[in-house]
């Protein structure tokens, strides 16, 4: 229930920040060469000359009716821009997350089976590399190897699954490493616990012990990491989208900020805040599903 005040706070902060930040949307619209009269006229047309509180109430009443306004620069409705781009970001973030969970959890579980073994040490090394490399560097290396040298995949753009693989891997690479580490330590805790010993003692095969008894109980920290990362991916995939020319919402926000397109910035930040709040909510609900001790009344 804290979500509504949170979102209102976001709205106020974004509005005020943009008001005090340097740069002017009208000067961005007119380009390098203009005259003072045109600028004054446009400010008036866009109601930028009105008092801040009036602009704010006007904007907020629009938002409450589901109207995010039109972009100053492109004159297109913001909601339409978001509708075009967000599904693409969702697809990229979802694929990155899926890839990261499959690889990360698998590596983590296998590492925990024989701590200190060759697989554990290899996994640990790769995890450190994955966490250390910045995403844009990984992205460019992936393009270089798989697109330019081997020509297996297209370097950039949006289209079928072949366009998705490289960016999803670049975006997910950090998570694979992080998830592997978290899974490994959570699994080690659980595997040393009494009930696992009991499960083994009653003669269950090792696969069942690991998957049904141990992994299930190690899920809470894994879900936390997944939830946090997913929110981050939806809002923070800007670099990946830029490097792979992926037409998602991250690039949209950056372009809007570059051009001081106030309605576009406000609309997309507000929208992404809603998404973030929702993802957190889903994560909380997933806890309850994973751990019967967690209950929400």
């Amino acid at each position: 229930m804290l979500s509504i005040p949170t979102l209102f706070g976001v709205l106020v902060v974004v509005f005020l920040l943009l008001y005090v930040a340097p740069g002017d949307p009208v000067q961005e619209m007119v380009g390098e060469r203009a005259d003072a009269e045109t600028i004054a006229r446009l400010r008036k047309e866009l109601k930028l000359d009105e008092p801040l509180i009036k602009q704010f109430t006007h904007y907020t009443s629009g938002v409450l009716k589901g109207d995010f306004g039109n972009s100053y620069i492109t004159q297109r409705p913001i909601i339409q821009d978001i509708r075009e781009r967000f599904p693409k970001t969702l697809l990229l973030a979802g694929s990155a997350m899926l890839l990261a969970s499959i690889l990360g959890i698998t590596i983590g579980v296998l590492s925990a089976r024989h701590p200190g073994g060759w697989f554990d040490r290899l996994g640990l090394g790769l995890a450190y590399l994955g966490i250390s490399f910045p995403v844009y560097w990984v992205g460019l290396i992936l393009i270089l190897v798989f697109a330019v040298m081997l020509r297996w995949l297209p370097p950039s753009g949006y289209g079928g699954i072949e366009y998705l693989i490289l960016p999803a891997f670049a975006l997910g690479s950090r998570s694979i490493a992080f998830l592997a580490r978290v899974t490994r330590s959570a699994m080690l805790d659980v595997l040393n616990s009494d009930y696992v010993r009991t499960a083994r003692a009653k003669g269950l095969v090792e696969r069942v012990v690991v998957v049904r008894h141990a992994l299930r109980n190690a899920l809470i920290p894994i879900i936390t990491v997944l939830g946090l990362d997913f929110g981050y991916y939806l809002t923070g995939s800007i670099l990946t989208e830029t490097i792979f020319s992926w037409p998602g919402i991250g690039r949209y926000v950056v372009n809007a900020i570059t051009r001081r397109d106030l309605p576009a910035i406000q609309g997309s930040v507000l929208f992404l805040s809603v998404v973030f709040v929702l993802v957190n909510l889903i994560t909380d609900l997933a806890y309850a599903k994973a751990d019967p001790r967690v209950a929400y009344s």
Partner: protein, 519 residues
């Protein structure tokens, strides 16, 4: 981040293209130059480079630019100028059709110009049409429903009367904003444009690509290739990878990568360069502190080693500036030498101005592309002459606002010409009328300079006009309201299967009509 990219980028160039470039099966030309989504496809909103390019594909103006920066007839097949230089009579082409089949006529010219100037359009670029009598009043909402200087006596004639003689007017009409649109364009015209141009609109996937198909009925002959695609690729290293993979046909080579390309004999064959109408300079605000003194401004010009900077930072991509007129335009004095790099002389000039202990200045720079590196080089050079520079790095928007308000001592700027004429450099950058938002962020004003530029604007005789420009440029050079850096040189890589492409001098002047893919 940039440094890491630099490490990777040459590797991309080094590794690709192993198969020697076999022609692709596609019959679509693919361009990779746009780094961000166009604002719109509506000519009235063409205030940025990607929009201007798209508009030039889809529409025609009364005149148009050729890639080598000449102005030739467009929808007007010819025109006459009255002896007083005030009235232009344009004779329009007959039989031209818009992409939806409607015939083009004189009324569309009037309608299009009104639309650009109409405050409700919220385009923000009326100035190329302001020379028309009554246009500025109309844009200000002062003169009712008509523009007094526009008339269409019949379907194939347009008569335009100007406020004052303006010899460069046909060049202004070749700008994308002066393109002709049909009646009642509608509110989604920017998404579903209909023009008379060589290419028809097919599809726009925002932040991804725009597709065009050839207009088989184009009045100047249809394009030689079936379709055209403008891809939007924000990261230039990615564009390089796309080029190496053979997925795009033309690449704007990065400054930092130029040397790598030129060093490889195979790659070198693909390169094509041309002088661009782009000027790098540092505006000095002549109303602030020591910069009021011309000797200080000259000292700055002597203290910076421009030729070395050009080689080291820009990969040799440009020509040292001695004035503001690019050497390819009429009025440029190609015998004039730039300020010599002479630290002793700079110190001497500073001492004469009473600043023997040096001065402190702020240099503002945008934090994109080559700007930060150029700014750092200038800072290091100036330090040797006792000029202590504090760098202020901001995003382009904040910096532009600060310099327009007169809050910057020094501002590193790059100017892209809108039309190929010396006036497009002398006027916006230095005429006193354009102080601040008009483009003159040196806030310099010189009555003699203003008069020469104003006289040139009305002068129909090309040679005489060039003379006036040269004189004005000489005054600016002596008074040094800016640090003259260099005129940029474009360097493109073009796939071996592409023929008929020339690097355009003005960004909107390459319309791909003569370009073919060799099978």
């Amino acid at each position: 981040m940039r440094r890491l990219l630099l490490l990777v980028a040459p590797a991309i160039i080094g590794c690709g293209g192993g198969d020697g470039g076999s022609a692709p099966a596609r019959n679509t030309i693919i361009d990779s130059r746009d780094t961000y989504d166009p604002r719109s496809m509506d000519p009235a909103l063409s205030t940025d480079v990607p929009t201007g390019r798209v508009v030039a594909y889809l529409f025609d103006g009364l005149t148009r630019f050729t890639p080598d920066a000449r102005v030739v007839p467009g929808l007007a097949k010819s025109w006459e100028i009255s002896p007083d230089g005030l009235t232009y009579t344009f004779h329009l082409r007959n039989g031209v059709k818009f992409h939806d089949g409607r015939p083009f006529a004189a009324k569309h010219v009037l309608g299009s110009f009104q639309r650009v100037l109409n405050p409700a359009t919220k385009g923000g670029r009326g100035w190329p049409l302001y020379p028309i009598r009554g246009a500025e009043d109309y844009a200000a909402g002062k003169s009712g429903a008509a523009i007094s200087g526009l008339a269409a006596p019949n379907d194939s004639t347009v008569i335009i009367t100007l406020k004052e003689p303006l010899a460069i007017f046909p060049k202004l009409l070749a700008m994308p904003v002066a393109s002709i649109v049909p009646d009642n364009p509608g509110s989604d015209f920017g998404q579903k444009p209909i023009g008379t141009g060589p290419w028809k609109f097919v599809e726009w996937r925002h932040d991804d690509y725009i597709k065009f198909a050839k207009n088989a009925e184009y009045f100047d002959g249809p394009p030689k290739t079936d379709s055209l695609m403008a891809r939007i690729i924000p990261e230039r290293s990615t564009a390089t990878a796309e080029f190496e993979s053979g997925n795009v046909d033309v690449l704007n080579v990065n400054e930092q990568e130029s040397r790598t390309w030129e060093a490889d004999p195979e790659k070198k064959k693909l390169l094509q360069s041309a002088a661009a109408l782009r000027f790098w300079y540092v505006a000095m605000n002549v109303t602030r502190g020591p910069l009021r003194d011309v000797r200080v401004r000259q000292a700055l010009n002597h203290a910076v080693n421009v030729p070395t900077m050009l080689q080291q930072v820009m990969g040799g991509r440009g020509a040292v500036a001695a004035g503001v007129i690019p050497p390819t335009l009429g009025g440029a004095d190609t015998t004039r030498r730039g300020y010599t790099y002479d630290v002793a002389k700079a110190k001497q000039l500073l001492a004469q101005a009473g600043y023997a202990n040096g001065i402190d200045l702020e240099l503002w720079t945008a934090n994109t592309d080559a700007s930060p590196r150029i700014a750092q080089t200038i800072q290091a050079n100036l330090a040797e002459a006792g000029i202590r520079v504090k760098l202020v790095s901001r995003d382009a928007s904040s910096m532009r606002e600060a310099s327009r308000k007169g809050e910057t001592d020094l501002a590193l700027k790059e100017w892209w010409a809108d039309y190929p004429d010396a006036e497009n450099f002398l006027g916006p950058l230095l005429h006193s009328r354009n102080k601040g938002v008009g483009g003159n962020v040196s806030f310099w004003g010189n009555p003699q300079f203003d008069r020469l530029v104003d006289d040139a604007r009305g002068e129909q005789d090309e040679a005489r006009r060039s003379q006036l420009y040269t004189q004005a440029d000489q005054i600016a050079f002596n008074e040094a309201p800016m640090l003259f850096l260099f005129f940029y040189k474009d360097l493109y890589a073009i796939q071996p299967w592409i023929s008929g492409f020339t690097v355009p001098a003005v960004f909107s002047a390459q319309r791909w009509t003569d370009v073919t893919i060799q099978k």
